[in-house]
Amino acid sequence: MTSTANSLRQGPDETGRFGLFGGRFVAETLMPLILDLDEAYKAAKADPSFQEELDYLNKHYIGRPSPLYYAERLTEHLGGAKIYFKRDELNHTGSHKINNCIGQILLAKRMGKPRIIAETGAGQHGVATATVCARFGFPCVVYMGAKDVERQAPNVFRMKLLGAEIIPVTAGQGTLKDSMNEALRDWVTNVDDTYYLIGTAAGPHPFPQMVRDFQSVIGRETKEQMMEAEGRLPDMLIAAVGGGSNAIGLFHPFLDDPEVKIVGVEAGGKGLDGDEHCASLTAGKPGVLHGNRTYLLQNYDGQIDEGASISAGLDYPGIGPEHAYLRDTGRVEYVPIMDDEALEAFQLLTRLEGIIPALEPSHALAEVVKRAPKMDKDQIIVMNLCGRGDKDVFTAAKHLGVDLQQ
């Protein structure tokens, strides 16, 4: 094993820090809950029956392992590195979000906290949460920005079908950041029976660690599957980062493999020169929000800016603290991709491989399109295809100037 004192995989420390980042910046009312959660998670990790149940559900409910697919036509089209997709869009509910939800719902059950609350941006995490709540018979409340309720109508309907109560959030700009504020307000009010099932690898410790651990199944499988397919590790990993859960899930098992270059792709929106983007690692600076210190889009006075992206799932002005740490250590390179580049990649994949990707991994794909042609044919890229695009068909149509109502 490569686990040494210099390992990049040892974080967080006891205080929830990844270097400067992370921590537990929450109101006193929540602090005892966070500490309880930390204890409960540690106990669950040490309990073989917890892992057993998780493995069973991963396999038989989610459909893991997800395939590692060699995208032959795309590879040929780009004329460079071999491109593999880790197909987490084939999971039950259509994205990687379920990996985390299934882990956390088992924890909530263990802790005897039956009322589940969650925030959602694109609705993928909301759908995954509503799904596991239905599966375990827990009541579910999902906070969703009013703007997102509008642009992700199909997911809103899915959540309702699954029995969740959707609360549209109009505070602020009505996006993911604001729904997180509302979920925290709910949690601080209903401390006794409520479990906050956070959807990304951010928030107060132990959430970033816990979400990463549940998502790391992506990277662990990838490693195994890649050894099986090619007999070696890939040269490059590429994944989209909003809060960063799918990316950290793919990256984490590879952090101590220096021969693997790792690239995270942020939403560049309409460009980094204005304020219509979500590139917190490229254009933000360290600050404290939602329980952790991390890179944030903010003004001179520490007021948080609203991000903007074609993809609701990347529309968040912060980023998981471990990504902030990986940026500063230089282990992972973070780059922005603009809305129009993502939209082009979205169409490219649809036509070349018959896979409609979500707009979130379309950002990662646009980076693949840039990098693969510059690489040798014997080099390998693995991209996390973390969500399917059914939910984005309306958004894509709108941006492509197609009126689906006619």
């Binding site: 205080t15 921590g23 537990r24 910046f25 929450v26 109101a27 006193e28 009312t29 929540l30 602090m31 005892p32 809950l33 505070a171 602020g172 950041k177 997180m180 504020n181 925290l184 307000r185 601080v188 009010t189 209903n190 401390v191 600050g287 404290v288 929000l289 939602h290 329980g291 944030l296 903010q298 001179y300 006075d301 520490g302 007021q303 948080i304």
Partner: protein, 273 residues
Amino acid sequence: MTQRMDDAFAATRAENRPALVTFVMAGDPNFDTAKEIVLGLPDAGADVIELGMPFSDPMADGPAIQAAGQRALKSGQDMKKTLELVRLFREKNSTTPIVLMGYYNPIYIYGVDQFLTDALEAGVDGLIVVDLPPEEDDELCIPALKQGLNFIRLATPTTDDKRLPQVLANTSGFVYYVSMTGITGSALSNPVNIGAAVKRLSEHTDLPICVGFGIKTADDAKRIGADADGVVVGTVLVKAVEDGVTANESSAQIADRVHTIVRDLAAGCRASR
């Protein structure tokens, strides 16, 4: 420790009544009106002033205080102006303690050392920073105490006896007991328990214990003030500002709305024992 805070609570103790702690948002709805409100608070009966530092994402606050922060930010309020407001207040008043209350990020971005220097110079007596629990004391609490600023901690119903000593360890000035779980501005849930809660806290500390969250009327103040060393009132004052703004009132009229409520609450405090 700032003498002003100790003196203020000594005075209300001598009068055998709870202190009235009033929260208003700096810069709400604009700098000049906020100044008029704050300047008039002591005469209306406020013993301690909590001045909100507006933040874009106030995750422990209810809709009224969220809106107050938004109004302030929209009018151009920032940390510099909040400290300026304190300085202007200090030119007229040297006895009423001022506590800045808010969230950590605007302080972190201002720079902790610079903030502490400027806050002391402006005449700030203490800080309440909602998202800095004892686990994060190295960030601001310890440096603030070293500089001689009070760091006032929130204790909540979820703070059990095991945790209480840790919460109180680096607390100074007073203890702010949040009377219920939830956000600011909610209805007072179970006021009968407050006497027991204050008693529980006082077994762990000699600091004055002020109770807040959910106190809206003179009657609430009277009832809570029977047990507590101070009552904290915020949402009802901030709502008065909102009402004044909605009615298109002048700065003087809005300030008058706030001061009228404070006078009423002060009367409640005086009648509590």
